[in-house]
Protein backbone atom coordinates (compact mmCIF):
# COMPACT_ATOMS: atom_id res chain seq x y z
CA UNK A 1 0.00 0.00 0.00
CA UNK A 2 2.80 2.35 0.93
CA UNK A 3 4.60 1.39 -2.26
CA UNK A 4 1.51 2.09 -4.32
CA UNK A 5 1.15 5.54 -2.77
CA UNK A 6 4.78 6.24 -3.47
CA UNK A 7 4.25 5.27 -7.10
CA UNK A 8 1.29 7.63 -7.40
CA UNK A 9 3.28 10.46 -5.85
CA UNK A 10 6.18 9.83 -8.24
CA UNK A 11 3.82 9.78 -11.23
CA UNK A 12 2.15 12.97 -10.04
CA UNK A 13 5.52 14.63 -9.56
CA UNK A 14 6.72 13.60 -13.00
CA UNK A 15 3.55 14.82 -14.69
CA UNK A 16 3.79 18.06 -12.76
CA UNK A 17 7.39 18.54 -13.91
CA UNK A 18 6.46 17.69 -17.50
CA UNK A 19 3.66 20.23 -17.47
CA UNK A 20 6.07 22.80 -16.08
CA UNK A 21 8.53 22.08 -18.89
CA UNK A 22 5.70 22.22 -21.41
CA UNK A 23 4.48 25.52 -20.05
CA UNK A 24 8.01 26.94 -19.94
CA UNK A 25 8.84 25.98 -23.53
CA UNK A 26 5.55 27.32 -24.81
CA UNK A 27 5.93 30.46 -22.82
CA UNK A 28 9.23 31.14 -24.51
CA UNK A 29 8.00 30.32 -27.95
CA UNK A 30 6.66 33.54 -29.50
CA UNK A 31 3.11 33.81 -30.71
CA UNK A 32 2.71 34.73 -34.37
CA UNK A 33 3.16 38.47 -34.45
CA UNK A 34 3.27 41.36 -36.91
CA UNK A 35 5.70 44.27 -36.43
CA UNK A 36 4.37 47.56 -37.79
CA UNK A 37 6.70 50.52 -38.32
CA UNK A 38 4.85 53.77 -37.60
CA UNK A 39 6.79 56.44 -39.45
CA UNK A 40 4.65 59.25 -38.05
CA UNK A 41 5.39 58.65 -34.37
CA UNK A 42 8.69 56.75 -34.26
CA UNK A 43 7.34 53.49 -32.91
CA UNK A 44 6.78 49.85 -33.80
CA UNK A 45 3.39 48.33 -32.94
CA UNK A 46 3.58 44.64 -32.06
CA UNK A 47 0.36 42.91 -33.11
CA UNK A 48 -0.56 39.46 -31.77
CA UNK A 49 -2.01 37.66 -34.81
CA UNK A 50 -4.10 35.27 -32.73
CA UNK A 51 -5.64 37.83 -30.37
CA UNK A 52 -5.67 40.37 -33.25
CA UNK A 53 -4.66 43.30 -31.07
CA UNK A 54 -1.65 45.51 -30.41
CA UNK A 55 0.16 44.00 -27.42
CA UNK A 56 3.11 46.37 -27.25
CA UNK A 57 4.43 49.64 -28.67
CA UNK A 58 8.20 49.93 -28.94
CA UNK A 59 9.94 53.31 -29.21
CA UNK A 60 12.57 53.12 -32.00
CA UNK A 61 14.62 55.73 -33.95
CA UNK A 62 13.08 58.57 -35.95
CA UNK A 63 10.85 57.81 -38.94
CA UNK A 64 11.02 53.97 -39.03
CA UNK A 65 10.17 52.52 -42.44
CA UNK A 66 11.97 49.34 -43.63
CA UNK A 67 11.84 46.04 -41.77
CA UNK A 68 12.83 42.43 -42.02
CA UNK A 69 12.27 39.47 -39.68
CA UNK A 70 14.85 36.76 -38.98
CA UNK A 71 12.57 33.89 -37.95
CA UNK A 72 15.31 31.45 -36.95
CA UNK A 73 17.16 34.03 -34.89
CA UNK A 74 14.09 35.70 -33.34
CA UNK A 75 15.13 39.16 -34.49
CA UNK A 76 13.45 42.09 -36.24
CA UNK A 77 15.58 44.72 -38.02
CA UNK A 78 13.94 48.16 -38.24
CA UNK A 79 15.37 50.93 -40.46
CA UNK A 80 15.02 54.48 -39.11
CA UNK A 81 15.40 56.97 -41.97
CA UNK A 82 15.38 59.98 -39.64
CA UNK A 83 18.24 58.86 -37.40
CA UNK A 84 20.17 56.87 -40.03
CA UNK A 85 20.30 53.72 -37.94
CA UNK A 86 18.78 50.28 -37.40
CA UNK A 87 16.95 49.16 -34.27
CA UNK A 88 17.33 45.42 -33.65
CA UNK A 89 14.44 43.92 -31.67
CA UNK A 90 14.53 40.53 -29.91
CA UNK A 91 11.12 39.10 -30.86
CA UNK A 92 10.99 36.90 -27.72
CA UNK A 93 11.06 39.89 -25.38
CA UNK A 94 10.10 42.66 -27.84
CA UNK A 95 12.90 44.84 -26.61
CA UNK A 96 15.61 46.65 -28.55
CA UNK A 97 18.87 44.81 -28.04
CA UNK A 98 21.07 46.85 -30.37
CA UNK A 99 21.14 50.05 -32.45
CA UNK A 100 23.37 49.87 -35.52
CA UNK A 101 24.62 53.27 -36.77
CA UNK A 102 24.73 53.64 -40.56
CA UNK A 103 25.33 57.33 -41.33
CA UNK A 104 22.90 57.05 -44.21
CA UNK A 105 19.15 56.55 -44.59
CA UNK A 106 18.14 52.86 -44.64
CA UNK A 107 15.22 52.40 -46.99
CA UNK A 108 14.60 48.67 -47.33
CA UNK A 109 15.99 45.58 -45.62
CA UNK A 110 16.25 41.85 -46.30
CA UNK A 111 18.35 38.86 -45.21
CA UNK A 112 19.94 35.80 -46.79
CA UNK A 113 18.30 32.37 -46.19
CA UNK A 114 20.63 31.30 -43.33
CA UNK A 115 20.12 34.71 -41.68
CA UNK A 116 23.84 35.36 -41.31
CA UNK A 117 23.65 38.59 -43.30
CA UNK A 118 21.21 41.48 -43.51
CA UNK A 119 21.17 43.75 -46.59
CA UNK A 120 20.12 47.39 -46.43
CA UNK A 121 19.58 49.77 -49.34
CA UNK A 122 21.30 53.11 -48.92
CA UNK A 123 18.93 55.37 -50.80
CA UNK A 124 21.10 58.48 -50.95
CA UNK A 125 24.50 57.09 -51.82
CA UNK A 126 23.41 54.19 -54.05
CA UNK A 127 24.86 51.35 -52.00
CA UNK A 128 23.70 48.14 -50.45
CA UNK A 129 25.17 47.79 -46.96
CA UNK A 130 25.82 44.29 -45.65
CA UNK A 131 25.43 43.70 -41.92
CA UNK A 132 26.91 40.65 -40.18
CA UNK A 133 24.17 39.39 -37.85
CA UNK A 134 26.72 37.80 -35.49
CA UNK A 135 28.77 40.98 -35.22
CA UNK A 136 25.79 43.36 -35.48
CA UNK A 137 27.72 45.80 -37.65
CA UNK A 138 28.21 46.79 -41.29
CA UNK A 139 30.98 44.65 -42.77
CA UNK A 140 30.73 45.49 -46.46
CA UNK A 141 29.09 47.79 -48.99
CA UNK A 142 28.23 47.16 -52.67
CA UNK A 143 27.86 49.99 -55.19
CA UNK A 144 24.49 49.64 -56.97
CA UNK A 145 22.38 51.58 -59.50
CA UNK A 146 20.49 54.80 -58.76
CA UNK A 147 17.93 55.16 -55.93
CA UNK A 148 17.86 51.56 -54.66
CA UNK A 149 14.31 51.16 -53.33
CA UNK A 150 13.04 47.63 -52.74
CA UNK A 151 15.29 44.70 -51.87
CA UNK A 152 14.73 40.94 -51.66
CA UNK A 153 16.72 37.70 -51.72
CA UNK A 154 15.95 34.81 -54.07
CA UNK A 155 16.72 31.45 -52.41
CA UNK A 156 16.55 29.37 -55.59
CA UNK A 157 19.37 31.18 -57.37
CA UNK A 158 21.01 33.01 -54.44
CA UNK A 159 20.26 36.34 -56.07
CA UNK A 160 20.07 39.65 -54.27
CA UNK A 161 17.48 41.71 -56.16
CA UNK A 162 16.82 45.45 -55.96
CA UNK A 163 14.63 48.00 -57.75
CA UNK A 164 16.06 51.35 -58.91
CA UNK A 165 13.17 53.78 -58.64
CA UNK A 166 14.56 56.59 -60.77
CA UNK A 167 16.16 54.54 -63.54
CA UNK A 168 13.21 52.14 -64.00
CA UNK A 169 15.30 49.02 -63.61
CA UNK A 170 15.59 45.91 -61.49
CA UNK A 171 19.14 44.77 -60.74
CA UNK A 172 20.19 41.22 -59.94
CA UNK A 173 23.35 40.50 -57.93
CA UNK A 174 25.07 37.19 -57.22
CA UNK A 175 27.87 37.07 -54.66
CA UNK A 176 27.87 40.88 -54.65
CA UNK A 177 28.41 41.11 -58.44
CA UNK A 178 25.85 42.59 -60.83
CA UNK A 179 24.76 39.88 -63.25
CA UNK A 180 21.77 41.52 -64.93
CA UNK A 181 19.79 44.74 -65.10
CA UNK A 182 16.27 44.63 -66.55
CA UNK A 183 13.79 47.32 -67.58
CA UNK A 184 10.62 47.50 -65.50
CA UNK A 185 7.62 49.84 -65.67
CA UNK A 186 8.04 53.44 -64.47
CA UNK A 187 9.14 54.06 -60.89
CA UNK A 188 9.57 50.50 -59.57
CA UNK A 189 9.33 50.47 -55.78
CA UNK A 190 8.45 47.24 -53.97
CA UNK A 191 10.01 43.97 -55.15
CA UNK A 192 9.15 40.37 -54.31
CA UNK A 193 10.58 37.04 -55.41
CA UNK A 194 9.60 33.40 -55.19
CA UNK A 195 11.03 30.41 -57.08
CA UNK A 196 11.82 31.30 -60.63
CA UNK A 197 10.16 34.74 -60.66
CA UNK A 198 10.64 38.26 -59.39
CA UNK A 199 7.90 40.90 -59.30
CA UNK A 200 8.13 44.71 -59.17
CA UNK A 201 5.36 47.23 -58.38
CA UNK A 202 5.64 50.17 -60.82
CA UNK A 203 4.15 53.24 -59.12
CA UNK A 204 3.80 55.62 -62.09
CA UNK A 205 2.66 53.01 -64.60
CA UNK A 206 -0.12 51.42 -62.53
CA UNK A 207 1.41 48.06 -63.35
CA UNK A 208 3.57 45.23 -62.11
CA UNK A 209 6.44 43.60 -64.01
CA UNK A 210 6.98 39.85 -63.72
CA UNK A 211 10.56 38.78 -64.47
CA UNK A 212 11.46 35.19 -65.26
CA UNK A 213 14.85 34.65 -63.62
CA UNK A 214 15.58 31.60 -65.79
CA UNK A 215 15.33 33.15 -69.27
CA UNK A 216 15.06 36.88 -68.28
CA UNK A 217 11.77 37.41 -70.13
CA UNK A 218 9.43 40.01 -68.64
CA UNK A 219 5.70 40.54 -68.63
CA UNK A 220 3.64 43.55 -67.58
CA UNK A 221 0.22 43.35 -65.90
CA UNK A 222 -2.02 46.38 -65.29
CA UNK A 223 -3.24 46.90 -61.72
CA UNK A 224 -4.88 49.76 -59.76
CA UNK A 225 -3.53 53.30 -59.22
CA UNK A 226 -0.03 53.85 -57.85
CA UNK A 227 0.90 50.32 -56.81
CA UNK A 228 3.52 50.27 -54.08
CA UNK A 229 4.31 46.68 -53.26
CA UNK A 230 3.55 43.11 -54.31
CA UNK A 231 3.48 39.69 -52.68
CA UNK A 232 2.60 36.23 -53.98
CA UNK A 233 1.03 33.34 -52.13
CA UNK A 234 0.41 30.06 -53.95
CA UNK A 235 -1.23 31.00 -57.26
CA UNK A 236 -2.23 34.51 -56.32
CA UNK A 237 -0.47 37.86 -56.42
CA UNK A 238 -1.51 40.75 -54.13
CA UNK A 239 -0.69 44.36 -55.02
CA UNK A 240 -1.30 47.44 -52.84
CA UNK A 241 -2.86 50.27 -54.89
CA UNK A 242 -2.05 53.31 -52.76
CA UNK A 243 -4.33 55.79 -54.52
CA UNK A 244 -7.26 53.40 -55.00
CA UNK A 245 -7.22 52.14 -51.40
CA UNK A 246 -7.43 48.63 -52.70
CA UNK A 247 -5.61 45.39 -53.32
CA UNK A 248 -5.38 43.97 -56.82
CA UNK A 249 -5.72 40.20 -56.76
CA UNK A 250 -3.81 38.59 -59.62
CA UNK A 251 -4.23 35.07 -60.90
CA UNK A 252 -0.63 34.15 -61.63
CA UNK A 253 -1.61 31.21 -63.86
CA UNK A 254 -3.52 33.33 -66.33
CA UNK A 255 -1.44 36.45 -65.66
CA UNK A 256 -4.36 38.81 -65.05
CA UNK A 257 -5.98 40.88 -62.34
CA UNK A 258 -9.12 38.99 -61.33
CA UNK A 259 -10.54 41.44 -58.79
CA UNK A 260 -9.89 44.27 -56.37
CA UNK A 261 -10.78 44.36 -52.68
CA UNK A 262 -10.96 47.38 -50.37
CA UNK A 263 -8.25 48.17 -47.83
CA UNK A 264 -7.82 51.09 -45.41
CA UNK A 265 -6.55 54.45 -46.68
CA UNK A 266 -3.32 54.40 -48.71
CA UNK A 267 -2.32 50.74 -48.38
CA UNK A 268 1.43 50.34 -48.73
CA UNK A 269 2.86 47.00 -47.72
CA UNK A 270 1.78 43.46 -47.11
CA UNK A 271 2.85 40.12 -45.69
CA UNK A 272 1.28 36.73 -44.96
CA UNK A 273 1.26 34.34 -42.03
CA UNK A 274 1.39 31.00 -43.78
CA UNK A 275 0.10 28.71 -40.99
CA UNK A 276 -2.69 31.02 -39.90
CA UNK A 277 -3.60 31.76 -43.53
CA UNK A 278 -3.62 35.50 -42.93
CA UNK A 279 -2.79 38.40 -45.21
CA UNK A 280 -1.89 41.65 -43.45
CA UNK A 281 -1.84 45.06 -45.18
CA UNK A 282 -0.47 48.29 -43.65
CA UNK A 283 -2.63 51.39 -44.24
CA UNK A 284 -0.49 54.55 -44.12
CA UNK A 285 -3.50 56.86 -44.43
CA UNK A 286 -5.69 55.35 -41.72
CA UNK A 287 -2.88 54.44 -39.27
CA UNK A 288 -3.97 50.83 -39.21
CA UNK A 289 -3.53 47.33 -40.58
CA UNK A 290 -6.16 45.25 -42.36
CA UNK A 291 -6.13 41.52 -41.66
CA UNK A 292 -7.69 39.23 -44.31
CA UNK A 293 -8.32 35.51 -44.48
CA UNK A 294 -6.35 33.98 -47.35
CA UNK A 295 -9.06 31.32 -47.69
CA UNK A 296 -11.84 33.64 -48.82
CA UNK A 297 -10.06 37.05 -49.08
CA UNK A 298 -12.54 38.56 -46.60
CA UNK A 299 -11.53 41.21 -44.10
CA UNK A 300 -11.29 39.73 -40.59
CA UNK A 301 -10.37 42.90 -38.71
CA UNK A 302 -8.88 46.38 -39.14
CA UNK A 303 -6.56 47.16 -36.21
CA UNK A 304 -5.40 50.67 -35.24
CA UNK A 305 -1.60 51.08 -34.99
CA UNK A 306 0.61 54.15 -34.51
CA UNK A 307 0.70 57.05 -36.99
CA UNK A 308 1.54 56.40 -40.66
CA UNK A 309 2.01 52.65 -40.49
CA UNK A 310 4.24 51.35 -43.28
CA UNK A 311 6.40 48.24 -42.62
CA UNK A 312 8.28 48.16 -45.92
CA UNK A 313 9.58 44.56 -46.08
CA UNK A 314 8.81 41.26 -44.35
CA UNK A 315 7.08 42.11 -41.11
CA UNK A 316 5.41 38.93 -39.84
CA UNK A 317 7.07 36.52 -37.40
CA UNK A 318 6.08 33.08 -38.72
Amino acid sequence: MINRNKKIIVILLISFLLSLIYFYSNHHKSNPKAYITNQGNNTVSVVDLIALEVIKTIKVGIAPLGITILNKKNLAFIGNVGTDDISVIDTRTDQIIKTIKLNTAPLSITSNPDESKVYVTDWFKNNVLIISVDEMKVIESIKVGKTPSGITFNEKYNYLIITNRDSNTMEVYKENKLINSLSTGKHPFGVHTKGQYAYTANVYDDSITIINLEDWTTKIIKVGAHPYNILTHQNLGFVTNTVDDSLSIIDLKIGKEIKQIYTGETPENLDVHRKLNLLVVTNWGSDSISVYSLKNLKLIKEIKTGAQSRSFGEFILQ
Binding site: A63, L107, W123, F124
Partner: protein, 144 residues
Amino acid sequence: MRKFILALIALVFSMSVFAHGPTPQKVQESITVNIPPAKAWSVVKNFTDFNKIMKTRSFDDEIMKIKYEMLKKDGPFSDYNAYIIVKKGANDNESVIQWTARFYRTYKLNPPIPEGQDDATAVAAVKKIVEPGLVSLKKALQSK
Protein backbone atom coordinates in the same frame (compact mmCIF):
# COMPACT_ATOMS: atom_id res chain seq x y z
CA MET B 1 17.55 83.90 -23.39
CA ARG B 2 20.54 81.64 -23.75
CA LYS B 3 18.40 78.64 -22.88
CA PHE B 4 15.88 79.76 -25.48
CA ILE B 5 18.55 80.00 -28.19
CA LEU B 6 19.92 76.59 -27.28
CA ALA B 7 16.39 75.15 -27.42
CA LEU B 8 15.89 76.80 -30.80
CA ILE B 9 19.14 75.36 -32.13
CA ALA B 10 18.14 71.92 -30.85
CA LEU B 11 14.74 72.27 -32.52
CA VAL B 12 16.18 73.34 -35.88
CA PHE B 13 18.73 70.53 -35.67
CA SER B 14 16.11 67.90 -34.86
CA MET B 15 13.93 69.15 -37.71
CA SER B 16 16.77 68.89 -40.20
CA VAL B 17 17.48 65.36 -39.00
CA PHE B 18 13.85 64.51 -39.54
CA ALA B 19 13.97 65.96 -43.04
CA HIS B 20 16.31 63.18 -44.18
CA GLY B 21 14.88 60.29 -46.09
CA PRO B 22 12.07 59.77 -48.52
CA THR B 23 9.17 60.26 -46.16
CA PRO B 24 5.69 60.98 -47.47
CA GLN B 25 4.03 63.84 -45.61
CA LYS B 26 0.46 63.91 -44.34
CA VAL B 27 -1.89 66.80 -43.67
CA GLN B 28 -5.24 65.82 -42.18
CA GLU B 29 -7.85 68.36 -41.11
CA SER B 30 -11.55 68.13 -40.40
CA ILE B 31 -14.58 70.31 -39.74
CA THR B 32 -17.98 69.55 -38.23
CA VAL B 33 -21.17 70.82 -39.87
CA ASN B 34 -24.80 70.68 -38.74
CA ILE B 35 -26.07 68.84 -41.81
CA PRO B 36 -26.92 65.12 -42.15
CA PRO B 37 -24.11 63.12 -43.83
CA ALA B 38 -26.11 62.18 -46.96
CA LYS B 39 -26.91 65.83 -47.63
CA ALA B 40 -23.35 66.97 -46.91
CA TRP B 41 -22.05 64.31 -49.28
CA SER B 42 -24.22 65.56 -52.16
CA VAL B 43 -22.64 69.00 -51.72
CA VAL B 44 -19.07 67.77 -51.26
CA LYS B 45 -19.34 65.55 -54.33
CA ASN B 46 -20.34 68.46 -56.55
CA PHE B 47 -18.21 71.16 -55.01
CA THR B 48 -16.70 72.86 -58.03
CA ASP B 49 -14.36 75.31 -56.28
CA PHE B 50 -11.70 72.63 -56.05
CA ASN B 51 -11.81 71.93 -59.77
CA LYS B 52 -9.60 74.91 -60.55
CA ILE B 53 -6.61 73.25 -58.95
CA MET B 54 -7.56 69.63 -58.57
CA LYS B 55 -8.97 66.88 -60.71
CA THR B 56 -11.44 64.37 -59.35
CA ARG B 57 -9.92 60.95 -59.62
CA SER B 58 -12.85 58.95 -58.35
CA PHE B 59 -15.72 59.03 -55.90
CA ASP B 60 -17.55 56.40 -53.96
CA ASP B 61 -21.15 57.05 -52.86
CA GLU B 62 -21.24 54.13 -50.49
CA ILE B 63 -18.39 55.25 -48.27
CA MET B 64 -18.85 58.96 -49.18
CA LYS B 65 -15.30 59.49 -50.30
CA ILE B 66 -13.96 61.64 -53.14
CA LYS B 67 -10.37 61.58 -54.37
CA TYR B 68 -8.40 64.31 -56.00
CA GLU B 69 -5.07 64.68 -57.66
CA MET B 70 -3.24 67.93 -58.44
CA LEU B 71 -3.86 69.22 -61.97
CA LYS B 72 -0.64 71.15 -62.27
CA LYS B 73 2.29 71.45 -59.94
CA ASP B 74 1.34 74.55 -58.05
CA GLY B 75 3.55 74.78 -54.98
CA PRO B 76 6.65 73.52 -53.17
CA PHE B 77 5.45 69.89 -52.95
CA SER B 78 5.13 66.91 -55.31
CA ASP B 79 3.07 63.75 -55.89
CA TYR B 80 0.02 65.31 -54.23
CA ASN B 81 -2.96 63.05 -53.73
CA ALA B 82 -5.87 63.81 -51.44
CA TYR B 83 -9.26 62.54 -50.44
CA ILE B 84 -12.24 64.02 -48.65
CA ILE B 85 -14.51 61.78 -46.67
CA VAL B 86 -17.88 62.53 -45.08
CA LYS B 87 -18.51 60.74 -41.79
CA LYS B 88 -21.34 60.62 -39.28
CA GLY B 89 -21.14 63.25 -36.55
CA ALA B 90 -22.25 63.05 -32.92
CA ASN B 91 -25.92 62.84 -34.00
CA ASP B 92 -27.94 62.18 -37.16
CA ASN B 93 -27.94 65.84 -38.14
CA GLU B 94 -24.21 66.33 -37.86
CA SER B 95 -21.37 65.38 -40.23
CA VAL B 96 -17.60 65.47 -40.03
CA ILE B 97 -15.79 66.40 -43.25
CA GLN B 98 -12.23 65.13 -43.21
CA TRP B 99 -9.58 66.10 -45.77
CA THR B 100 -6.37 64.05 -45.99
CA ALA B 101 -3.47 64.90 -48.29
CA ARG B 102 -0.39 62.80 -49.02
CA PHE B 103 2.61 64.36 -50.77
CA TYR B 104 6.39 64.62 -50.79
CA ARG B 105 8.76 67.54 -50.60
CA THR B 106 10.11 68.72 -54.00
CA TYR B 107 13.76 67.85 -53.34
CA LYS B 108 14.27 64.10 -53.40
CA LEU B 109 18.02 63.78 -53.72
CA ASN B 110 20.92 63.69 -51.28
CA PRO B 111 21.04 66.07 -48.34
CA PRO B 112 21.71 68.97 -47.87
CA ILE B 113 18.21 69.93 -48.83
CA PRO B 114 17.95 73.36 -50.51
CA GLU B 115 15.94 75.98 -48.69
CA GLY B 116 12.27 75.99 -49.59
CA GLN B 117 12.30 72.41 -50.89
CA ASP B 118 12.15 70.61 -47.55
CA ASP B 119 9.38 68.74 -45.73
CA ALA B 120 8.37 71.68 -43.53
CA THR B 121 7.88 73.99 -46.55
CA ALA B 122 5.81 71.34 -48.33
CA VAL B 123 3.60 70.78 -45.27
CA ALA B 124 3.03 74.54 -44.82
CA ALA B 125 2.08 74.92 -48.50
CA VAL B 126 -0.41 72.06 -48.40
CA LYS B 127 -1.96 73.42 -45.19
CA LYS B 128 -2.60 76.62 -47.14
CA ILE B 129 -4.72 74.58 -49.55
CA VAL B 130 -6.49 72.34 -47.05
CA GLU B 131 -7.44 74.85 -44.34
CA PRO B 132 -9.06 77.56 -46.55
CA GLY B 133 -10.51 74.74 -48.68
CA LEU B 134 -12.40 73.37 -45.70
CA VAL B 135 -13.57 76.87 -44.73
CA SER B 136 -15.06 77.49 -48.17
CA LEU B 137 -16.57 74.01 -48.15
CA LYS B 138 -18.22 74.75 -44.83
CA LYS B 139 -19.66 77.99 -46.25
CA ALA B 140 -21.06 76.13 -49.25
CA LEU B 141 -22.55 73.48 -46.96
CA GLN B 142 -24.21 75.93 -44.60
CA SER B 143 -25.76 77.96 -47.42
CA LYS B 144 -27.68 74.86 -48.55
